[in-house]
C-alpha cells in the first residue's frame, strides 16, 4: 500500500463518500458520523505518512502506469503533503463541530464534506494542469452543495453569487487551458515548465495570456482583489463547519498561484518567466488594504473573520512576491497558522452567535452568554493568534514574513501594510471582544450551551496555534525546506519522470 500512498488522500474520502450513498451507510447520520471520523483518522495517518515519505524524497505517482507527461501524475512534495495534512486537521475540526448537530440540518453533509476533501487534496497533489481543473470543479461543486447546507435566504443569495462567479471563472480556466495546450502542447505541469522555456516570441505572447488567465482563475479562488467579492458573503453565511472548511479553499487558490505562477512560470520559464509577478504585487497589496478596511468596518464576527481570510490572502501573496522566493517559507508557515485559526474563529463565531440569541455574532449589546469564561478564553486566544501576538502562532508567521521582506526593495510597502493591518486587527478584534463578551444587557440568555464536541473542535484547531510556536523550530524548518524544495525541485521531478520511476 505504501507505494500507492500518494493517491490515497484522494481515494480514501472518495471511497467513504461513495459508500455513504449506498446501504448500509445511506441515510443514517450516526453511521455516517462514525464513518467520517474513521475516514478522518485514516486520512490523518495517511497525511502523516505522506509527510514522512515526501520529506525524504518527492513522491511521484503515475496513474494508470502511464509515463508522464502523457498520463496524469500526482506529485507529493513536502508542500503538497503539508497542505494535505493541513486540510485533514482542519477537516477534523470542522467535522467534529458538525457532528454536534449541524450535519443534520440538511442532506448529504458527510458525503459532500468528504467529496470536498477529496477535491482539495486532489488539487494539492496533482501534477497535471487539466486534472487540476477537474479537482477544482470537484471541490467547487462540493462547496456549492455544502454552502447551501442548512438552508436560508442568506445562504441562497450567497450561493447565487458564489456559484455564478465561479462558474464563469471555470470557463476562463478552460480558455486558459486551451491556450496553454495550444502553445505548449502538454498538460503535465513539470513538462509545461520545460516547454515554456522553449517557446518562440509570438507563441510566448499567446501563452502569456493563458498564464495570466490562470492567475484570474486562481485569484478568484484565492479572493484576490478585485475578484474577492464573493468571499465575505459566502463565508459569513455558510454554516459554521462549512465556513471553517472553506478556510482552506482560498488557500487552494494561493497554493496554485505559488505552484504555477511562482514556480512553473517562475524564474526559469524562458520568455514566460515571472509573467504574473507584476500583477500579483498590486493585487495582493490592494487585497490587504481592502481586507483591512473590511476588517475595521465589520459589524459581526463572521464578517470580521471573512475579512481576516482576505487579509491572510493578501499577506500570503505579498510574502510570495518577495524577490528570490525567500518569503515562501514564511508564507507556508503563515498559511498553516492562518488556515487553522480562521477555521477555529468561524466555529467560535457560530458558538458565540448561537449563545447570544437574536443578537447573534453582531457587535451590539446582548444578553450574557451561557459559557462566557470558556468562549471568552477561546476567543481571546484566537484573537491573539490573529493579531499576531505571542504566544500564538500569528506572531511567528508575521515575524517570518517581515524578516523575509527585510532589506528587499518592497520592504517599505510590505512592512507598512502588514503592520498597519495588524494594528487594524488589534482595533477590530478588541472591539469585537469587548462588544461580544463585555457589552451586556439583561439577564443571561436562555440559549443552550455549546456541546462538548463543538468545544473540542475549536480547542483542537486553536491548540494547533501554540503548538506551531512550541514546535516552531521543526515547523519553520519544514516550511522553509518545503519552499526551497518547491522552488528547486521541478527539474528534479522532471528528471525522475524521464527516468521512468513510474511503474
Amino acid at each position: 500500500m505504501m507505494q500507492h500512498l500518494v493517491v490515497l488522500p484522494i481515494l480514501a474520502p472518495m471511497l467513504m463518500a461513495v459508500m455513504m450513498l449506498l446501504p448500509p451507510l445511506q441515510n443514517t447520520i450516526y453511521r455516517q458520523r462514525i464513518a467520517s471520523f474513521f475516514t478522518m483518522l485514516v486520512m490523518l495517518g495517511i497525511a502523516i505518512l505522506l509527510i514522512i515519505t515526501s520529506s525524504e524524497q518527492t513522491q511521484v505517482y503515475a496513474l494508470g502506469g502511464w509515463q508522464p507527461p502523457f498520463g496524469i501524475v500526482l506529485v507529493a512534495d513536502r508542500l503538497a503533503s503539508m497542505m494535505v495534512l493541513l486540510t485533514t486537521v482542519l477537516g477534523c475540526g470542522a467535522l467534529l463541530y458538525a457532528s454536534a448537530g449541524d450535519d443534520n440540518l440538511g442532506m448529504y453533509f458527510h458525503p459532500l464534506f468528504l467529496f470536498q476533501l477529496m477535491g482539495i487534496n486532489g488539487a494539492f497533489l496533482t501534477g497535471d494542469i487539466f486534472n487540476l481543473f477537474v479537482f477544482f470543479e470537484i471541490l467547487l461543486i462540493a462547496s456549492y452543495a455544502l454552502l447551501i447546507h442548512g438552508g436560508g435566504k442568506q445562504k441562497t443569495l450567497a450561493s447565487v453569487h458564489y456559484v455564478s462567479l465561479n462558474l464563469v471563472g471555470s470557463s476562463f480556466f478552460l480558455f486558459a487551458l486551451g491556450i496553454l495546450y495550444g502553445t505548449l502542447g502538454t498538460l503535465n505541469i513539470a513538462d509545461m515548465a520545460d516547454a515554456a522555456s522553449r517557446l518562440e516570441a509570438q507563441e510566448a505572447v499567446l501563452a502569456k495570456t493563458g498564464v495570466l488567465l490562470l492567475l484570474l482563475v486562481f485569484g478568484l479562488k484565492a479572493a484576490l482583489l478585485p475578484l474577492h467579492f464573493w468571499l465575505t458573503k459566502t463565508y459569513s453565511s455558510a454554516s459554521a463547519p462549512v465556513a471553517a472548511l472553506f478556510a482552506i479553499m482560498t488557500k487552494v487558490g494561493i497554493y496554485s498561484i505559488f505552484r504555477i505562477h511562482g514556480v512553473v512560470f517562475g524564474e526559469e520559464a524562458g520568455l514566460l518567466a515571472n509573467t504574473a509577478l507584476p500583477w500579483i504585487w498590486p493585487m495582493a497589496i490592494l487585497t490587504l488594504i481592502i481586507g483591512t478596511i473590511g476588517l475595521i468596518g465589520s459589524s459581526s464576527l463572521k464578517v470580521l473573520t471573512a475579512n481576516l481570510v482576505l487579509i491572510s490572502v493578501g499577506t500570503l501573496l505579498l510574502a510570495m512576491v518577495i524577490p528570490g522566493g525567500i518569503g515562501l517559507g514564511a508564507a507556508l508557515y503563515y498559511m498553516l497558522h492562518t488556515t487553522l485559526v480562521s477555521g477555529a474563529l468561524f466555529l467560535l463565531a457560530d458558538m458565540i452567535g448561537k449563545q447570544r440569541g437574536k443578537a447573534a455574532d453582531r457587535f451590539v449589546p446582548a444578553r450574557p452568554i451561557q459559557q462566557p469564561g470558556l468562549l471568552g478564553t477561546l476567543f481571546f486566544l484566537a484573537a491573539l493568534a490573529v493579531i499576531g501576538m505571542p504566544p500564538m502562532s500569528g506572531f511567528v508567521g508575521k515575524v517570518m514574513i517581515l524578516q523575509a521582506a527585510n532589506g528587499t526593495s518592497g520592504m517599505i510597502w510590505i512592512w507598512s501594510i502588514i503592520l498597519i493591518s495588524s494594528l487594524a486587527a488589534i482595533i477590530a478584534l478588541s472591539r469585537a471582544g469587548t462588544n461580544l463578551f463585555w457589552n451586556l444587557c439583561g439577564d443571561k440568555s436562555d440559549e443552550l450551551a455549546s456541546s462538548q464536541l463543538q468545544i473540542i473542535a475549536v480547542v483542537l484547531l486553536l491548540a494547533c496555534s501554540p503548538l506551531l510556536v512550541i514546535f516552531g523550530a521543526q515547523v519553520t524548518e519544514f516550511t522553509d525546506t518545503a519552499a526551497r524544495q518547491m522552488l528547486h525541485d521541478y527539474p528534479t521531478i522532471k528528471a525522475m519522470m524521464n527516468a521512468g520511476i513510474t511503474q
Partner: protein, 931 residues
C-alpha cells in the same frame, strides 16, 4: 537553568488563582502570592552575584530560523526592575485581597495580574529581541484585560481598548525597529546587539530605527502626544493602577530606553527627540494634574509628568542623568504606588474619588492620611523623602545642558516650573482630601480600612523614608549596578546623600516648593482660568476618531461590496480584459504558418446560423422561451461543428447534453418568470456590450492565432499507444477511460456531487407554481396525451438498444459510457414527460442515489483493482478471447470503468430531472377548471 523559572513561575502561576478561587479569598490571595514570592526569593538569591558585576545569562534555542531564542539575562537593570515588579506585585496582591469586592471574580483578577507580572518580568529579563517583543506585547494584552476588568462599565471597556490600541500600535512600531536592528547586527541576541552600538548608529536606517523604537517606548510610557490613554486606564481597579500605571508597565517604555541606551543614545536625534518629548510630557502632565478633580486622574497625570521627567533625564546627553533616571524610576514607583493605594483606600472606604466631595477625611482616617502625606511629600520632592533625592539630581542635570544652544537655559527653568506644579498638585491631593472642610454627599461614611489593606502602603511609605534618609545604604549598590548596565560599563561618580549643600538645585527645589504653595493658594483663579477653555478630552477625540474610522470603513465596505452580482461580474470581466489584452498587445501577427482548412459555403451557412442564433439569444434574452430556442440551435450547430471537425464523440456528447440542458431549462422556466423586465440602463448595456465584445474579440484573435500555428504536442503518444496499450481504437475514448481515466473519474464525481447538491436544493424548496402561462391562459387539461404515452412506450426499448450499442462500441468507435448513459437517461426522461412522475414512481423502483453510488464505486473499484497486480491506480487491463460461435472478442477493464460512468450518469441525470419533476408535481396547486 533556574533563571528561566523567574519569568516562568508567574506564567505558570497564572493558573493558581483560577484553581484556588473556590477555597476563599484569603487562601486564593495566599496561593497567588506563592509563585511571585518564590521568584522574588530567587531574584534575591541572584542579587549578590549580579551586584558583584556578574550578570547571569541562560538560553536555549527555540526557533532559530527567525532568531528566536528562549534567552534570559539578569543584569543590574533587570535586577532592579525585577525587584520592583515582584516586590510591589506582592504588595498589590495583598492590597487587592481587601480592595476587591465580593462580586468581583478574584481568581480572574489575580490571573490577569500574575500574567502581567510574568510578562513584565519577561521584558526586563529578555536577552533576545524577539522574545522581548513578545513579552512586550503580552503586557499590552494583560493590561487590556486588567483595565477592562470591570467590563460592565463602558469606561472600562473603552479605556481598555484605547490602551491596547495605543500600546499595540507602539508595539508594532517596536517590532519593526527590533527587526531592523536584528537585521543590521545579524543577530537578535541582546548581548550581541548591545555591543554593536556603532554599527547601528552608523547605519543609514538608524533614524528610522530610533523613531520606531521610540514610538514603542513613548506609547507604553504615555509620553506626549501618546499620553492620553493613561488617564482612561484609570477605569481599572485601583490595584491595577497602582501596579501597572505607576510602578511597572508604564516603566516598560523607560526600561526600553534604558536598555537600548548603549546602542541608540548619544546622537543628536536621540537627544532632541527624547528630551523634548520628556520635557513636554513633564510640563503637560504636571499642569493638567492640578486640574483633575478625580483623585486617580490627578495621580495619572502626575504619573505622566514623572514619566516625562525620567524620559527627559534619559534624553539628556549625560551619563549622570541616566543614573538619575534610574533612581527616579525606583522612587517614583514607590511613592506613586503607595499614593494610588491610598487613593484606593479612600475610594474604597468613602465611595468617591471626587476631590470636590472628599473633604476633611483626616477626621475619619488619620492613619491613612498620614501615610498619604508622606508619599505625597515624596512626590512633591520634599527633603528627607526619596522623591527629593532624584529630583535634586534632575535639577543638577538640567543645569548642565547645552544641547539646546542659546535656549539651553530654558530647560532648568521649565523643569522648575514643572516642579512647582508637582508641588501644587501634591498639596492639593493632601489638603483637598484630608482637610478643606467637611465631606459633601459621600455615599459612605469613611473610616480606616482593614488592617492588612494598610500594610502594603505602610511598607512603601516606609521605603520612601528609608530611601530618602539612607539612600546610599538602600540603593547604592543596586543603582550602580543598574546604571552600569544602562551605560554599558563605567558609571560616573555620583553621591547619594540627603544633603549636597546649599546649591543651585536646592534653590530650584525651594523655588518649586514656594511656587507650588503659591499656585495652590491661587488655585481657584487658576481653575476659573482653565475652565474657560473647552475641555478637549483626548478620549472623546480618540473615540470619535475610531468611531469615524469604523464608520468610514463600514461605509466603504458597503459601497464596494454593494451586493450586486452584476458589479462583481463586471469586475471579473474587467480583470479578464486587463489580463489578456496587456500581453496580447505584443502579438505582432495572428497569421501563422499552418495552412488553413478550406472554407465552403455550407460551413459559412453554419457559421451564419450559429452567429445569428447567438445574437438572437442576446437580443431576445428577455423573452426567455424564445431565447432558449435560439440557444438550442446554437448548441445544435456546435455539435455539428464537432462532427465536421473530426470529433464524433464530442458531437454525440454535445448533442445529448444540449438536449438535457434544454429540458432542464424548460423545467426551470416553468418556475421562473417567463420574461425578464427591462431594467438595465442604456449606458449599462453599452458598457456590458463593449466589454464583452472586446473580450470576445481578443478570445477570437487568440483562438485564430493558436489555430494557425503548428503544434508539437504529446498527442502522438496516444495515437501510437491507444490500440497496443489501451486496447481500443477510439483514441478519444481510450484517453478518457485509460490514459486520463483519473480525469473521467473526477468528472463523474462532479456529476454525482452535482446531483446530490441539486437534490439538497430541491429538498427544502417551496415554490409557488404559476396557475396560468405567460399570457394568462390556463394550462391544457390533458396532462399526458394518450398518443404520446403509447409511442413513448414503444420507443423506450429501441432507445435502450441504441444505448447498449453505443456503450459497447465506445472503446473502438464513437460512443462510450457517458454517451450511452445520457441516451438511457433521456429515454427515461422522455417516459417521465409522457407518463408523469407518479406513474413512473410506481413502476421504476430504482434508487437513483444508489445508482450514483454504485457507478462511482465501480469506477473506483476498477481503478483500485490494479493494486492487486501491484500496478498504479487505474492501470488498465485487456485481452482478446475466442469462443465458439461468437468468435474473437475483447474484454477490458476499461469497459467496467465505463460501466461505472454509465451508471453514474444515469443516476445523476435522473436524480436531478425526475426529482425536479416530483417537486413541481407534488406542489402544483389545483388548476382552475377548464373553461
Amino acid at each position: 537553568m533556574s533563571l528561566f523559572w523567574i519569568p516562568l513561575l508567574p506564567m505558570i502561576g497564572t493558573l493558581v488563582p483560577l484553581l484556588s478561587e473556590r477555597w476563599g479569598r484569603s487562601i486564593c490571595a495566599l496561593c497567588t502570592a506563592i509563585a511571585p514570592a518564590i521568584a522574588l526569593t530567587m531574584v534575591l538569591a541572584y542579587m549578590p552575584s549580579v551586584l558583584a558585576g556578574q550578570p547571569i545569562q541562560q538560553s536555549i534555542e527555540w526557533i532559530p530560523l527567525i532568531g528566536l531564542e528562549l534567552s534570559f539575562h539578569l543584569d543590574g537593570l533587570g535586577l532592579l526592575f525585577s525587584l520592583l515588579i515582584l516586590g510591589i506585585g506582592l504588595l498589590i496582591i495583598l492590597y487587592a485581597r481587601y480592595y476587591l469586592s465580593d462580586q468581583d471574580s478574584m481568581g480572574r483578577f489575580y490571573a490577569y495580574l500574575i500574567l502581567f507580572m510574568a510578562a513584565m518580568l519577561g521584558i526586563v529579563l529578555s536577552n533576545n529581541l524577539i522574545q522581548l517583543w513578545a513579552y512586550w506585547e503580552l503586557t499590552s494584552i494583560s493590561s487590556f484585560l486588567l483595565i477592562g476588568f470591570w467590563s460592565h462599565s463602558s469606561n472600562a471597556r473603552k479605556g481598555a481598548r484605547m490602551a491596547l490600541t495605543v500600546t499595540g500600535a507602539g508595539g508594532l512600531a517596536l517590532l519593526a525597529g527590533l527587526l531592523m536592528i536584528g537585521n543590521i547586527v545579524g543577530s537578535y541576541d541582546l548581548h550581541t546587539v548591545l555591543n554593536s552600538g556603532d554599527l547601528i548608529r552608523e547605519n543609514p536606517l538608524y533614524p528610522v530605527i530610533l523613531v520606531l523604537v521610540l514610538l514603542g517606548a513613548f506609547t507604553k510610557s504615555a509620553q506626549f502626544p501618546f499620553h492620553f490613554w493613561l488617564p482612561h486606564a484609570m477605569a481599572a481597579p485601583t490595584p491595577v493602577s497602582a501596579y501597572l500605571h505607576s510602578a511597572t508597565m508604564v516603566k516598560a517604555g523607560i526600561f526600553l530606553l534604558a536598555r537600548f541606551y548603549p546602542i541608540l543614545a548619544g546622537t543628536e536625534q536621540w537627544f532632541l527627540m527624547v528630551s523634548l518629548t520628556g520635557l513636554a510630557t513633564l510640563l503637560l502632565g504636571a499642569y493638567i494634574a492640578l486640574f483633575k478633580h478625580d483623585l486617580k486622574g490627578l495621580l495619572a497625570y502626575s504619573t505622566i509628568s514623572h514619566l516625562g521627567l525620567i524620559t527627559l533625564l534619559l534624553g539628556m546627553d549625560s551619563r549622570l542623568a541616566a543614573v538619575a533616571a534610574i533612581f527616579h524610576v525606583v522612587n517614583h514607583a514607590i511613592f506613586k504606588a503607595s499614593l494610588f493605594m491610598a487613593a484606593g483606600i479612600i475610594d474604597h472606604e468613602s465611595g468617591s474619588r471626587d476631590m470636590r466631595k472628599l473633604n476633611g477625611l483626616w477626621k475619619y482616617m488619620p492613619y491613612t492620611a498620614t501615610l498619604a502625606m508622606v508619599a505625597a511629600a515624596s512626590m512633591a520632592g520634599v527633603p528627607l523623602f526619596n522623591g527629593f533625592l532624584s529630583k535634586e539630581m534632575f535639577f543638577t542635570e538640567t543645569l548642565d545642558q547645552s544641547a539646546l544652544g542659546s535656549l539651553s537655559w530654558m530647560i532648568p527653568v521649565l523643569a522648575t516650573i514643572g516642579a512647582m506644579f508637582a508641588v501644587a498638585y501634591s498639596i492639593r491631593f493632601i489638603h483637598d482630601v484630608f482637610f478643606n472642610g467637611e465631606p459633601i454627599n459621600l455615599p459612605r461614611t469613611p473610616h480606616e480600612p482593614p488592617r492588612y489593606m494598610k500594610v502594603p502602603v505602610e511598607i512603601l511609605v516606609g521605603l520612601c523614608l528609608l530611601v530618602g534618609i539612607f539612600p546610599q545604604f538602600m540603593m547604592g549598590d543596586l543603582l550602580t549596578s543598574a546604571s552600569s548596565a544602562v551605560l554599558g560599563g563605567a558609571v560616573p561618580t555620583y553621591s547619594l546623600s540627603i544633603w549636597h549643600g546649599f546649591n543651585l538645585p536646592f534653590v530650584m527645589s525651594l523655588i518649586a516648593m514656594g511656587g507650588g504653595l503659591l499656585i495652590y493658594h491661587n488655585r481657584r483663579s487658576l481653575f476659573r482660568f482653565q475652565a474657560q477653555f473647552p475641555e478637549t478630552d483626548a478620549k472623546l477625540v480618540f473615540d470619535d476618531t475610531i468611531k469615524l474610522v469604523i464608520e468610514k470603513a463600514a461605509h466603504f465596505n458597503g459601497w464596494l461590496e454593494n451586493g450586486s452580482l452584476q458589479r462583481y461580474m463586471f469586475w471579473m470581466m474587467f480583470m479578464v480584459l486587463a489580463l489578456i489584452t496587456v500581453p496580447i498587445m505584443n502579438l505582432n501577427t495572428t497569421e501563422g504558418i499552418r495552412p488553413e482548412t478550406p472554407l465552403n459555403n455550407v460551413m459559412s451557412a453554419g457559421a451564419a446560423l450559429l452567429c445569428i442564433c447567438a445574437l438572437a439569444t442576446v437580443i431576445w434574452h428577455r423573452k426567455r422561451v424564445i431565447a432558449l430556442l435560439m440557444l438550442s440551435v446554437v448548441g445544435l450547430i456546435v455539435s455539428i461543428s464537432f462532427a465536421i471537425f473530426s470529433a464524433p464523440d464530442l458531437a454525440l456528447t454535445q448533442l445529448l447534453v444540449e438536449v438535457a440542458t434544454i429540458i432542464l431549462l424548460l423545467l426551470a422556466l416553468f418556475l421562473l418568470p417567463q420574461r425578464t423586465p427591462k431594467e438595465s440602463s442604456p449606458s449599462r448595456i453599452m458598457r456590458d456590450l463593449s466589454i464583452s465584445a472586446v473580450i470576445g474579440g481578443v478570445v477570437g484573435t487568440i483562438s485564430y492565432a493558436i489555430m494557425t500555428k503548428p503544434l508539437v504536442s504529446i498527442s502522438d503518444f496516444f495515437l501510437d499507444n491507444s490500440k497496443t496499450g489501451g486496447g481500443g481504437t477510439n483514441v478519444v475514448n481510450v484517453i478518457l477511460v485509460d490514459f486520463r481515466g483519473f480525469d473521467t473519474m473526477g468528472e463523474i464525481t462532479v456529476l454525482g456531487i452535482a446531483a446530490l447538491g441539486i437534490y439538497k436544493l430541491l429538498a427544502q424548496m417551496h415554490i409557488a407554481m404559476p396557475t396560468s402561462d405567460i399570457d394568462g391562459r390556463s394550462w391544457a387539461r390533458d396532462k399526458h396525451p394518450m398518443m404520446l404515452e403509447v409511442i413513448s412506450q414503444g420507443l423506450l426499448p429501441l432507445a435502450l438498444l441504441v444505448s447498449a450499442f453505443i456503450f459497447l462500441r465506445g472503446h473502438n468507435l464513437p460512443g462510450g459510457g457517458f454517451i450511452a448513459g445520457l441516451i438511457t437517461s433521456l429515454a427515461l426522461i422522455q417516459q417521465y414527460v409522457a407518463h408523469g412522475v407518479n406513474w413512473m414512481k410506481v413502476r421504476l423502483k430504482v434508487d437513483y442515489q444508489w445508482l450514483i453510488g454504485s457507478g462511482l464505486f465501480i469506477a473506483l473499484a476498477t481503478g483500485a483493482g490494479s493494486w492487486l497486480f501491484d500496478r498504479p491506480f487505474l492501470t488498465s487491463w485487456f485481452d482478446y478471447f475466442t469462443l465458439p460461435i461468437i468468435g474473437k472478442f475483447e474484454l477490458a477493464s476499461a469497459l467496467l470503468f465505463d460501466l461505472g460512468v454509465y451508471l453514474t450518469v444515469i443516476g445523476a441525470t435522473l436524480l436531478i430531472l425526475a426529482n425536479l419533476g416530483k417537486i413541481t408535481t407534488g406542489e402544483r396547486p389545483k388548476q382552475t377548471e377548464y373553461e
